[in-house]
Amino acid sequence: MSAAVDVVGSTRPGLAETISDWGRRNRWTLALVALLAGFLAFTKLIGPSYGPVQIQGLAIGALPIALAAVAQAIVVISGGIDLSVGSMMALTSVTSAVLMKDQSEGFAVVVVVGVLLLGLVIGAINGSIIVVTRVPDIVVTLAMSFVWAGATLFVLDTPGGGAADWFKGLISGSIVSDWIPRALIVLVLVCGVVWIPLRRSMLGLSLYAIGSNRLVAFRSGVDVGRTKIIAYALTGLFCALGGMAVTASTGAGSPVPGAYTLQSVAAIVLGGVSLAGGRGGIVGPIIAVFILQLVRTDLTFLEVNPNFSTVIQGAILIGVVLFGSVLAMRRVRA
């Protein structure tokens, strides 16, 4: 980023200017942070008992969805969409649960590495099929969601398996203070380790480039096919992380895919990632996941009929996109 600024202006911008520039660029994310803070305050107001334990529960519940959202964000930024996120998470979750059952704690480390590789491979398979056949992303990933769901049933046809103790302990409880859940730290670390170097690399730039304009990216010398496959492989990697988060939080694997595909799409849209590609990041979607989870908690606190919470989730999804497109239309008119 700073390199781009240097090229445009020969003088270094002042600190105030840098901050205001950063604020403008991250307006959506900042608004989400404010919204999240508002929701937390509101939750505390309507449920005075809301404390560290609930915050830990929130973080554990949000962890797999947040990882699914990051997975979806990467592929949508690169101009695709992956409807097989839920199935890939189910596959990696049951694989880790089956392999860890009745095994030593040390072997679990091998399993974690193996499942991460599995995620990369199945993601790369999705991407390769899209690049080689040139069939639209949505059709391929829809079809592959059947394939991965079927593979999941081969691995495990009824809920079962197990998880190593250290693995379960990784995301439960808190660290340093009661208010900082371990699951949150895991989320930040995992995303930071993968995303920050990626964002600053040539590859990260290429991801955004092929998402915003494939042709221009191609003419600028980006290997579009290779970048697309890598984007899908990274999505697979984050699905593997999400799948293992499911295993760690439940201590077992379930072959029924959760509603993660849908939730991931909702979160990235709310998180400011453009479905047209090329725009957005992963911080927005992660915050969006926490907001959506808090909405669910608040509805329980307010004793709203739980069936209405489905209605409200759908309405939020539509409302956010609607709001976004109304803003975009105004900008065009102005």
Binding site: M144, F146, A149, S325
Partner: protein, 332 residues
């Protein structure tokens, strides 16, 4: 193309790869029917004697609701959209109809079910056509909203028994002369309306135009938003009719009755040769696609394939057929 023409002069044109490619491109129905015939042949070989008049009736009966839902997808996909709310709309309409039938009588219950579906379609259409919400998001979100509202309705009506009217059961599950399911009475008019509408009516042309190039369509004077609003209302009403037929077939209604047919309906349209990018396709291919999926399901059950293998094969076939289309049409 020119190479194919040149080769035709020297060799039998039917033997060149180009001619085959042309066949796939211009008459996709022929290879699709070939695939369907091959599947039926394999089925007969796997279990001799299974293919009979009764089998035909059962297969058609199962394929028809899927074909109607796939019709909704075909129409939406022609404009470059998709309707993932068909499952929720169909289940909702069937559930509302079956719940209200005892108190209000079948006629009023059916009308209310259709009206509720049309309303849901209107919301979809307004979101997609006027507010330019991505169809995938809009219909996924509406699917959630409808599912939630239906379960609220279910709680409110928990005292009322769910009873599918006899007429709907007759329509959905009985067959005439063993091989003609009665649901053809609903399907044939719908199919005729879609096929003739797409080929002959101005509205049909508008659907293709919007999908091919929405900006060009708008500049040519088409009111794109009106086309889209009408499209999603039509789609929801057809979905509701499919929901009634499924309720008649299984003789009960639940709030997620038709949900599992949503992805197969997209698959049937894709196999039938409709492009998800819009502007290319038709309904006759989709009907064959729905038949292929139904026969394939039977075949995999007959072959005693585990559920896992069935899903994997299902996925692979969708990708393979879509890839074949992309190859012959040269689309990217």
């Amino acid at each position: 193309m020119s190479a194919g023409v040149g080769a035709a002069g020297t060799r039998n044109p039917w033997l060149t790869a180009e001619a085959w490619r042309g066949l796939f491109r211009d008459r996709p129905l022929i290879p699709l029917l070939g695939l369907l015939a091959a599947l039926i042949l394999v089925l007969e070989l796997a279990r001799p004697g299974i293919v009979s008049a009764q089998w035909l009736g059962v297969t058609l009966r199962a394929a028809i609701p899927l074909a109607i839902l796939a019709g909704c997808q075909t129409l939406a996909m022609l404009t470059g959209g998709i309707d993932l709310s068909v499952g929720a709309v169909a289940s909702m309409a069937a559930f509302v109809m079956a719940t209200l039938a005892t108190d209000l009588g079948p006629g009023a219950a059916i009308a209310i079910g259709l009206g509720a579906a049309a309303l849901a379609g209107l919301v979809n259409g307004v979101g997609i056509g006027i507010f330019k919400v991505h169809p995938l998001i809009m219909t996924l979100g509406m699917g959630l909203v409808i599912l939630g509202l239906t379960s609220v309705f279910q709680l409110a009506m928990v005292q009322t028994p769910v009873d599918v009217p006899d007429f709907i059961e007759w329509l959905g599950s009985e067959t005439t002369m063993t091989f003609l399911p009665n649901n053809l009475l609903v399907f044939v008019p719908i199919a005729a309306a879609i096929i003739l509408g797409l080929r002959r009516s101005g509205y049909g042309r508008l659907l293709f135009a919007v999908g091919d190039n929405p900006i060009a369509a708008r500049l040519a004077g088409a009111r794109v938003w009106q086309v889209l609003v009408a499209l999603y209302v039509i789609s929801a009403v057809f979905a509701a009719l499919a929901g009634f037929l499924v309720a008649g077939l299984v003789k009960t209604a639940t709030i997620q009755l038709v949900e599992e047919s949503v992805l197969p309906s997209v698959a049937a349209a894709v196999i039938g040769g409709t492009s998800i990018m819009g502007g290319r396709g038709g309904y006759s291919g989709t009907i064959v696609g729905a038949l292929i999926l139904t026969v394939l399901t039977t075949l995999l059950i007959v072959l005693d394939m585990p559920e896992a293998a069935r899903q994997i094969l299902f996925g692979i076939i969708i990708v393979a057929v879509a890839a074949a289309y992309t190859r012959v049409t040269g689309e990217s």
